[in-house]
Amino acid sequence: MLALRLGRRSGTAVQLRRLMVAAASGGTGFLLLSSLGHALAHPEAPGAATVRLAWCAAPLAATVYFAVAVARTDPGTRPRPGLSAIGLGPGRLMAVSAVTTALSCLLGSLLALLFFLHLRGDLTGMPFDGGAAALLAAGRPLPLPAALTLLTLVPLIASAATALALRPREAGGLRGAARRHIADARRREHDADTGAGGRTAPATGVGTGVDTDVVTDVVTDVVTDTGLDADTATAGTTTGTATATAPATAPVAGAAPARLTAVPDGLPWGVAVLVTGLGVAGYANRAGVALTPDLSLVPAGLLAGWALAALGLALIGPGLTHLCGRALQAVRPGAVRLLAGRVLMAEASRIGRPLGVVAAVAALAYALVLRYDLGGPVLGPLGVLGAVLVAGCAAATLVTAGIEVRQLRADTMLALLRVGAPATTLRACAALRAGVLLAVFGPLTVTVAELASLTPGG
């Protein structure tokens, strides 16, 4: 009930985001039900039905990724002092956000079920002259438990992922790069060189935040499945890189406060995975593969290669974004370049991950349409729905990450405005950041797509 009450009072933009989650969940639910329909219509070929079901994992992963991103930006379920004072701390709010996510997804699933039944003609006779009858096994009765199981899949996974992403953590609960740097710092503690030499030294330590709400909402960093590529849906690897720390006031004994602009890790791994993926795809493609719309006939090598390449792109996203920021503020920067570059460095893990995913999806779309001639109607209505879902979720997640960054940077913006920074300067910073990211990730996407669809032997 509390989730509903908190949810009801939020603004239009938030409701719109929740509706988009519902739409994505509905689309995925519909795809899952269609795979059930296909299995019902073709009981003689369980293999093909299984392949169809497996393909649904891609939109499923995209939907969950998007739902988590939306839950993280939801101002209604963000820890705040007022609720904290009456005992509704981060732990309970995590539950509230999980419930909110589940509600949005359930709404979508319900709509998907209704639409599915409508198309099958179970509700009000056959629409569209029975055009969808063959696809959805209109003649046969629908096994209700199976349908319900499939439909609860998205809400369950999405709310579990949300709870995981927003679980309350201590400010010290950093992972990856930050934790390693703390260990380094403790080792270097004896060197007693705490002077001004810190500029190029790796970031160290954690901060003890004062007010828990800032801490939890900044430190809940990316717990997102990066294995989110359009063609295979490799399982979600939670490689969130933690760079952000709360505005620390008291340094923890033995470790200096963290630097906001720490390097996110994963770049070397990402490059390795990406290159491996390109190699595997190239090897599988050495004689030239002609893909057909029947997705069960995609060669395993090509699939694995693309999956690795996409995973690699998602992994290098943060590191590459950080590098962009570093390059931007490199040689004798003025105010605009300095601000743009440093902000990009600080927000590398938040913006970079969804950006990498978008690059992966875009590379795949580029290759499918331009190299394999599989664009548009050739894929069939369900294939197009799946592709639109994946692409839409990836793009919407990127936009949502942008919103999240904007929310988190509100106080910095206020500080800058206090200093008297003109709005045009801030806009120029934003435009510069977007331009640099586009200039780096655009060519990268095209290159990866071209390399992955290369036929070395042909």
């Binding site: 810190g198 500029r199 505005p247 630097r259 906001l260 300095l338 200093v419």
Partner: protein, 246 residues
């Protein structure tokens, strides 16, 4: 419209301000700040000090009344004009340092200079110069998050003073500090302002701090009063009344 007195750099007449939720903020406050003067605005929390400073600095537009800065009517300026005024002429130090965490200390201090179009090298020289004057020169290359609160507040003051503003608005600049740091930071601020002939409007709830200023103006419930000392609480009268009602 009456012109402001010649020797006053900043001048307000009959300022009224009502917050958006209809809470009264200011109720007819008039004051003038002379050139190079350090004026303390005293009063307890909620007496309208911050609102007055924000009206004077053009962050808020008063509901009624006039604010003049050197023959410029601040209350009729558009948002762009006020933004330019804040950037070119005013500086603001709040209770929170408000530093940009992504930039290091000297970059923070040099940012207002760079925003005014000064070259990087000159901005850096000047920023570091000011940081040294405020005893934080040794941490100029560190990140603000690595400093303690008093150091950060000093950096914020250096950032405000570096562009040589005409008027510095200091809104409880020492509120989050311990008393030793408080006095030190405040003295440094005053000394720097006096030596550079910067007019300071200082809001403070602390009488010791107000004693360092040239003149003190007291506010109480959004009105200017001659003395903000409240009468001492009546002894046991209230308690007796309470026990009677039980």
């Amino acid at each position: 419209m009456e012109a402001p007195p010649d020797n006053d750099v900043l001048w307000a007449r009959a300022l009224h301000f009502t917050h958006r939720d209809r809470t009264p903020g200011l109720n007819g406050v008039s004051l003038g700040v002379g050139d190079g003067e350090i004026l303390a605005v005293g009063g307890p929390r909620g007496s309208g000090k911050t609102t007055l400073l924000r009206c004077l600095s053009g962050t808020l537009t008063p509901t009624k009344g006039e604010v003049w800065f050197n023959n410029t009517p601040v209350h009729t300026l558009g948002p762009l004009g006020r933004e330019r005024l804040r950037r070119e002429r005013f500086a603001w130090v709040g209770p929170e340092p408000g530093l940009v965490a992504e930039l290091n200390v000297w970059e923070n201090a040099a940012l207002p200079l760079m925003l005014r179009g000064m070259g990087r090298r000159r901005a850096k020289e000047r920023a570091v110069d000011w940081l040294e004057r405020l005893d934080v020169g040794s941490v100029a290359r560190r990140n603000p998050l690595e400093l303690d609160q008093a150091q950060r507040q000093r950096v914020a003051i250096a950032r405000a003073l570096a562009p040589s503003p005409t008027v510095l608005f200091a809104d409880e600049p020492t509120a989050p500090l311990h008393r030793a740091d408080r006095v030190h930071v405040l003295r440094t601020l005053m000394a720097a302002a006096r030596s550079h002939d910067i007019t300071v409007v200082l809001a403070t709830g602390d009488l010791e701090a107000a004693a360092l200023a040239d003149r003190v103006v007291h506010l109480l419930d959004g009105r200017r009063v001659s003395n903000a000392q409240l009468p001492p609480a009546a002894g046991t009268e209230g308690r007796a009344a309470c026990s009677l009602s039980v």
